[in-house]
């Protein structure tokens, strides 16, 4: 599950697409208006619904469309990451990245690395809701 901000990361992933770059099909992109608008609840719920990994991606510091949204995100996501690790989730399963609209290549690399890192961990069952 990849939460991509509309202005940078989503455009970055789009660039990767239109440039016909190859990357694993495992990421489900969800465009949000800003990485700062990603509530911790979204992340917890993605894991609860069975996501194997969650990526939050926003603009580089200083490039935020809303001036400082990604700075807020940086703080909040740091706390969420620490909390998830404290609860006992593998740290690789939750990551954050800065991807600008011009970094299609970086986006494919991040997804490749992410998938490579969480494949050996197997499916995420800890936080998943049992049916």
């Amino acid at each position: 599950m990849a939460f991509l901000c509309k202005w940078c990361s989503s455009a970055g992933s789009d660039l990767a697409g239109v440039s016909r770059m190859e990357y694993p099909p495992n990421a489900v992109p969800i465009t949000v208006m800003c990485s700062g608008s990603v509530s911790p609840l979204y992340i917890f719920n993605a894991f609860k619904r069975g996501a194997d990994g969650v990526l939050v991606s926003g603009c580089h510091p200083g490039d935020c469309h809303y001036i400082k949204g990604n700075y807020y995100a940086r703080r909040r996501i740091a706390l969420v990451k620490k909390l998830l690790e404290f609860i006992g989730l593998e740290p690789q399963r939750f990551q954050m990245s800065w991807v600008s609209a011009a970094e299609g290549l970086k986006y494919t690399q991040i997804i490749k690395d992410f998938v490579k890192e969480i494949k050996p961990l197997g499916p995420q069952t800890k936080l998943r809701r049992e049916k």
């Binding site: 807020y72 609860i87 990245s97």
Partner: protein, 343 residues
């Protein structure tokens, strides 16, 4: 050591002068060993107020009830509410002031310094007494406590039965108050975040096994939320009240209803509930330990909140409730905030 008589006099004075609407303090029922909250409206009733190591409650919680009551009333009384606060409670007051939930003139703060002591942990006391019933617990000179049981008095070093949070306490005297009883003797905490650090050193699977066992117990009674001075939101994300299904709710509406957290007390929902609470209390929790005390199934909730407190301090140099003028933790940032975890 604060003399309870001083507290009674202060309360009596404030009520007599009409400075306050009522006073929230502690009293002790003769049949119980621990103190209970007391609400006093008449000056002569202030005799029942007490101050001893069993005054564990964070009375700040009652201010959110008072605020709701004021909102409901047509002509609410504007006089402030008197409240007895310890060091940790004063930090809670500071956070509420910071969030503009209460105004400074709405409260009359009677601060009591814990000095070298603190409040006891009822569970530790019960364990120590081994079936005997404590009638009264009181401070003694030095770091000792007197416990009166039916079979006579017992003297115990305070360290043995003080609540864990008091042993890790950083603010042992009120930092915001109108009157202060006792001395502002700064005490160095014996071990700051000791339990969090110990837990942090465990492996991922050990951590998970621990929390799985703990959170599976949760019965979702929401006692932790009810007792928390910071949980004052009118609408909590775990309540489905705002999604009430009526006769004219369409199937589509039902299907598209966002349910972040289901009501059923199963592991996955419990984890999300407790994580949401921890995140919401990050930078706000003042470590009063009430959630853990109120928990009927003994989940170590303080550990979770402590972790957030520790990270806020270490990553962002932020401590809750020390200054009512600072912006809140997630509503501010610094350019040098750590970002080594970001790719």
């Amino acid at each position: 050591m604060v003399n309870p008589e001083e507290l009674k006099n202060e309360a009596k004075k404030a009520l007599k002068e009409g400075k306050v609407k009522y006073i929230i303090g502690y009293r002790k029922k003769p049949e119980e060993s621990m103190a209970t909250p007391a609400f006093i409206r008449r000056a002569e009733d202030s005799e029942i107020l007490i101050w001893d190591p069993t005054c564990v409650h964070n009375l700040v919680r009652f201010l959110s009830d008072e605020k709701r009551r004021r909102k409901r009333e047509k002509n609410p009384e504007q006089r402030p509410v008197g409240i007895v606060i310890k060091g940790c409670d004063s930090r809670a007051i500071n956070v509420l002031l910071q969030e503009k939930f209460i105004a400074r003139e709405d409260v009359y703060l009677i601060g009591i310094s814990c000095e070298d002591n603190g409040v006891i942990d009822e569970k530790k006391l019960r364990k120590k007494l081994n079936g005997r019933k404590a009638k009264r617990v009181d401070f003694k000179e030095g770091q000792e406590l007197i416990i009166e049981t039916e079979e006579g008095k017992i003297f115990l070093p305070a360290k043995e039965i003080l609540a864990e949070r008091c042993l890790e306490c950083k603010v042992n005297f009120p930092i915001v108050y109108d009157v202060l009883l006792g001395d502002k003797t700064k005490r160095k905490p014996e071990k700051e975040f000791a339990s969090v650090e110990k837990f942090d050193s465990l492996s991922t699977s050990q951590k998970w096994d621990f929390w799985k066992n703990q959170l599976e117990k949760c019965i979702r009674c929401y006692a932790c939320r009810s007792v928390c001075p910071m949980c004052y939101c009118d609408e909590c994300v775990v309540d489905t009240i705002s999604f009430a299904v009526s006769a004219d709710t369409t199937a589509e509406e039902k299907a598209n209803k966002i349910k972040w957290i289901e009501k059923s007390p199963v592991l996955s929902e419990n984890i999300v509930y407790h994580m949401v609470r921890a995140i919401h209390l990050a930078g706000r929790c003042v470590d009063c330990g009430e959630c853990e005390r109120a928990c009927p199934v003994n989940i170590p909730l303080r550990l979770l909140n402590n972790k957030m407190e520790k990270e806020a301090k270490e990553l962002f140099g932020y401590e809750a409730g020390l200054d009512s003028q600072q912006p809140s933790l997630v509503a501010c940032f610094r350019d040098e905030d750590p970002q080594d975890f970001i790719r």
